[in-house]
Structure formats: structure tokens, C-alpha cells
Subunit: 376 residues, 2 copies
């Protein structure tokens, strides 16, 4: 059986994702579709609109055959770590083709990656601009391309990861369809995930833009999960923990611990907190990720150690997906987890388990322990 | 000027407290009444129904002349530490008479304290009963008295502290009036603080049982502060922090860290959490205090160090109280704090400051920084 790999958040699964899945299969002539999907928190560090099990079921009902969780230590990361983690897992699953959407699918991402090799990234440590901005100015100077659209950035990261780790994977960039990622306007049968989430937050499920399973799931969303509801927990962590301990947190350092503690003491709501913390040096996504690691009390040491020990947590499969898994499971480079037990909860999967407990702020359902994969 | 000292929680200030204040003045013939009062969390580790500033104003309007905060590291403690801390502060304030209510004011508490000196308390470490139960069985055997009523227990603790620290304080036990402490029935013009809080929680302010200022304050209470609202914060702390760090917390050890982590993982609400944690070994008050220190991420090391450095945080005074403070302030054994500044916030008063930030879950008003005393 030949598989095509996708890297997804499906937050939630919409018609654009279904079209993308079809295209991926067509382009590669694959028998099965394997998706590596973020868990309950996205790359930007925000809670997903419905949990990973619902999103898995949505994907399975729309032509994805196997859904594997991208562990939090890969998922909630800047593009280069997110992309590298996802491709590493897919390569280990015997996937030789990965298809992804990009804003500029016809760019030669190999050339961009080659251009980057000459950068003196050490000179990017200006404090009045994000790393991304400085990186981009340099790239544009050399190649004429602005790497600013989110899927172009990921495309670049896939290319770079593939080369660096010499992964036996062919990358296929295809055109993203429908509304742009940040487009808030609904139209036709396509809408961006952002527009869909905004509609649900406003009390309206955009049925035309999502498959039936997604529509059913979204109708059950009483309150869209947001950072506003996590903020009391974050605030108390920032106020009560000594700065030295805050500074041990993954992605919190360089004085961010003081800045955040001070902002938390002064800010009673998340919006004012973020405004108080934001500077030209950090993007909001960078801050949100750091804030999530603060809530998980995850130290740099812990996250870095976890990144060295990935695994395959199977969230769901169709019959074809199950056959494929059976075909590849003896060759997997990392442990296969079909059901989380007490040992995995305390050990290998501890960070994902804790993220699932945090997600219970939004939905009381246990997210990991003893949950079997979704089957279709 | 001659002062009489009271030790109070005023949660909230009610007619019984006013009567007690009158009696105290009468018994001792004092010119001014000085109260040492718990801050925003009680001895049992629960958030007060209104904040310390409101409760101070209630006291000032009903004959108390000077209100000093009992720091959290003395206030949220078992009776012996609570009593010793309060008496130490009062003695330092030049108070030579302390009046308190007891269920059995005519007992000879000196005799009880003397009897205790022969106890082999090391034999009290049975795990199927609280320390208090074992202590009581021994005391009853020797003196015929059961030390089970909350104010008798405090009376005993005052006597013991007075003797141990040789404080120049005369202790006057007087009869508690009106409903018993745990009596839930309102009647006449007197009601216990518990009954008053329960009435407010049920949506009714028992105006007949409280002075006008308290009635006004209680009418402003939208939701009575409870642990239910703190539980999401406690739960996340217990889930995310490693057990080794939980075990460093003040009053958390002897395996309580494992028991609490496990209960937090399994319990979505505070009631089920408490039921899962409770054992014969610990009282609910003991657990609540430990849980509060967990929320404050206060280590044993931190709290023990803080207990060595008490201070006088003045919450309010009448004109007479101000004159009295002026009279004694040069002789105070500990620092006098009239307004909390950045240094005090980060230093001496840090634990109280953090408790005030935690209390902002209930009321958004800043509790310490830059707040001047209430004046009447």
C-alpha cells in the first residue's frame, strides 16, 4: 500500500481540508492518506475549537485513513521544529510523499533554503524586531521572495528539514484553495479555519463550509476555547512562582520572566496582559507558546529531553489505515502507542497527558488515559 | 492610654463581635481596642466573604480603634501558631490585656496547659486519627476536659503561647454569646459568622444580625468566595508541578503530594477532590491550609523564614487608634507598615502580597500595593 502524508491541525476540519486531501491522493496516486495532526493545542499555542478525538473523527469521515498525534513538544513550536517533527514522524511511518498547501507553491523552496545557508543568523539578535522579520529582510535581499505567508513559511521549513535530516520524502507543494488563511469573510463552500472559528464564536455554525461531522461537532461547542479562560491559571503561575523558576520554563528567558510576572500582577484579563507583554522582539505566537509551557510548568530541560523521544500516538484509523499501520508497524523507529496506560502517562507521554488535563478546562472529558483510537 | 487586645477574623463583623468588643473594654477598663485580624484567608484556609479592607472598616465603625493584619504565615496555621503569632504581635504593640471568647471560659486553661507538659506527643503519630483527636483523648484522660470546641482550643493555645514566650499579657476568657460557632440557625440579633455567610450564599443578607456597615458590604457580595472557584488553579498546580516540587510546599509532605496529585487528575470539581484526598489522618482545615500554600507555591523554607520576620501591617484606625499607634510606635519590636511599596511587595510582605493577588479571583481590587489604612 502506498501512502501520502499530510501535516495538519484541522482546527476544525473543513471543505478546504477535504479538497486538499483529494488533491494529495490524486497528485501522488496513493492508496491511503496518513495525517500527522496537532493535539489539543495548535502550533500558535492556542486551544483547538474541539478536541483531538473529534477532529480525528472529522478527518476519518472525510478520506483520511490514519491520524497520528503530533506530540506537543513538536506541535507547539516555531515552524522549523513543527515541520521537522512532523516529517520525521511521517518518514518513520513509511511515507515517501508529503503534500502541503502553500501560498506560493511554484517557488523553488530548495533555492530559498540554499540561500539561507549563507546567512549570518547570529546577526539577527536585534531586540527591536522578531527573528522572523530580520530573517525575512535578509532572504528578500538575496532571493526577491518575502517569506511571510504562514504556509510558505511551513513549506520552507519542510524543505529545510527534509534536506537536513536527509529524509526519504518527496515534498509536493500545491496551491491553497479558497479564502486566505487570515481571511475573515465566509464565501462559497470554502472558508478558512479562522473564519469558521470566528463564526462559531459569534454563535453561527457555517454549515456550508464544513463536512457534516464537523458541523455536528461545532454545534456542540457551547463556548469556543480561548486563552481568556486559561488566563486565571497563567496569572497565578506567573505571580506565585519565583522568577528563577519561571526562567527555567521552555521558551521563557532573556528577561521575559520578569516582563510576564510584572504584566500578570497588573493585568486582570488576558488582553491587557498580552498588550503589556508584547514587544517588537516577540510575535504573539511566540508569546502564546511560552505561556502554554508556563501553564504546563514545562522546563527547557524537560521539553528538550522529550523532543529526543518521540512516539506514534494513534488517534484513529479507517480499515485501510489499520491495514497500513499493520504493514509498517514492525519498522517504526519510535514506540507505537495505541492506548495510553499509567506508565505512558507518567513517562513518555507525560507532557501530552498534562496538556490534555489542562484542556479539561474546556471539556471535562479525559483526553488520553485509556482512550482507544477512533475507528471508522 | 490603655489598650485591650482582640484576635479576630471578623468574617464578617457581626453583632456578636460588637458585644464582645464592648465586654472586652468593660472587663479591662481600656481606652482603646486593638485588633489583630486575619487578612483575606482565614485560619481554616478559606477566602473571607469580603476583603480585609471592608472587614477593617466594619470593625472601626463598631468600636475597634486599631486593626493590624495577622500576616498569612501566622493566620493560616493550626491554633497554636495562630495564637502565638497573634499574641506576639499584640504584646509588641504594648497590649497587656487580651480578651477572647471561649465555649468554657471558666475552665482553668493554665491547668490544661500544665497537664499537656507531661504528654508524650511522639506517641501521637498514629495514621488513622488526626493529631488533635489523639491529643484530646490524652487530655481528657488526665483532666476530664474535652478540648474540641474551636474557641476553647484557641483559649488553650493563647495560654500556652503566653507561658512559653513569657508574654506580659493577662488573658481574659469570656463567655461566647448567642449561637454556637457552627450553629446554622439565625435567631434574635445574634448569628454565627458561619450562619451569616450561609445566608448570604443563599441570597439573603441577615440585616438583623450585623451592624449597618457589614449589611452594606454583604449586599455588594455578588458571589460568596469559595474554594470551588480556586479549584481550577489548584488542580492545574497539582497536575503540572512535579511531585518533588509539590512536596517542598509548606504543610505538604508525608505522601500528601502523591495523594493530592492523583486526586486532582481524577477530580473535576473541588468537592470530589476533597473527598478523594480526605483521610482520618487530616482534618479538612489542615488540607485547606496545605491547598492554599500550594496555590501560593510557598515552600516550607519560605514560610518558615517568613515566620521569623513578622511586621505590623496597619489596615485601619480611628483617631484614638492613631494616637495609640503614635504612642507605641517607637517601641515596636517589628517593622511598622502603613503603606506597601515595591520593596515590601518583593520583600518582607511578599507572601501576603501574593495572597492578595490570589484573592483577586474574587474581587479585582488590588489588596496591598499602595493602599493606605482605613481611617475613621
Amino acid at each position: 500500500m502506498k501512502a501520502v502524508g499530510l501535516v495538519a491541525e484541522y482546527n476544525p476540519f473543513h471543505n478546504g481540508h477535504r479538497y486538499h486531501r483529494q488533491q494529495a491522493q490524486q497528485v501522488t496516486n496513493a492508496d491511503v492518506v496518513v495525517a500527522v495532526m496537532s493535539g489539543n493545542f495548535t502550533q500558535r499555542g492556542v486551544p483547538t475549537i474541539v478536541d483531538k478525538w473529534h477532529r480525528t473523527r472529522e478527518a476519518l469521515q472525510n478520506g483520511v485513513d490514519l491520524v497520528v498525534e503530533l506530540p506537543l513538544f513538536y506541535a507547539v513550536q516555531p515552524a522549523h521544529l513543527f515541520a521537522a517533527g512532523a516529517l520525521r514522524l511521517l518518514a518513520g511511518l513509511g511515507v515517501h510523499d508529503v503534500v502541503f498547501g502553500a501560498e506560493h507553491p511554484h517557488w523553488d523552496f530548495r533555492q530559498l533554503v540554499a540561500a539561507e545557508k549563507d546567512f549570518q543568523t547570529t546577526s539577527f539578535h536585534r531586540y527591536n524586531a522578531t527573528f522572523a522579520t530580520q530573517f525575512n529582510q535578509e532572504l528578500a535581499k538575496r532571493t526577491g521572495h518575502q517569506l511571510t505567508a504562514p504556509n510558505d513559511i511551513l513549506a520552507f521549513a519542510y524543505q529545510k528539514a527534509q534536506e537536513e535530516e536527509k529524509l526519504p520524502i518527496a515534498l509536493h507543494a500545491i496551491e491553497r484553495v479558497g479564502s486566505a488563511y487570515h481571511d475573515h469573510h465566509l464565501g462559497g463552500k470554502l472558508a478558512s479555519a479562522t473564519a469558521i472559528r470566528d463564526a462559531v464564536a459569534a454563535g453561527h455554525v457555517p454549515e456550508h463550509a464544513v463536512p457534516p461531522q464537523t458541523a455536528a461537532d461545532l454545534r456542540e461547542v457551547a463556548t469556543v476555547p480561548t486563552w481568556d479562560r486559561l488566563y486565571p491559571l497563567l496569572r497565578n503561575q506567573l505571580i506565585q512562582a519565583p522568577v528563577a523558576r519561571l526562567a527555567e520554563t521552555y521558551e521563557v528567558a532573556e528577561g521575559l520572566e520578569y516582563r510576564m510576572k510584572d504584566a500578570a500582577e497588573r493585568s486582570l484579563d488576558f488582553l491587557s496582559f498580552q498588550q503589556a507583554v508584547k514587544s517588537k522582539r516577540y510575535t504573539y505566537a511566540r508569546l502564546l507558546r511560552a505561556e502554554l509551557y508556563l501553564l504546563l510548568q514545562a522546563s527547557a530541560k524537560e521539553v528538550e529531553a522529550a523532543m529526543e523521544q518521540p512516539y506514534y500516538h494513534v488517534l484513529g484509523f479507517t480499515k485501510a489505515g489499520q491495514r497500513y499501520l499493520h504493514q509498517v508497524k514492525k519498522e517504526l523507529p519510535y514506540p507505537l502507542i495505541v492506548k495510553v496506560d499509567q506508565n505512558l502517562k507518567r513517562g513518555l507521554m507525560n507532557l501530552d497527558y498534562r496538556a490534555g488535563k489542562l484542556y479539561q478546562v474546556f471539556t471535562s472529558r479525559e483526553q488520553d488515559l485509556k482512550r482507544p483510537p477512533q475507528r471508522l
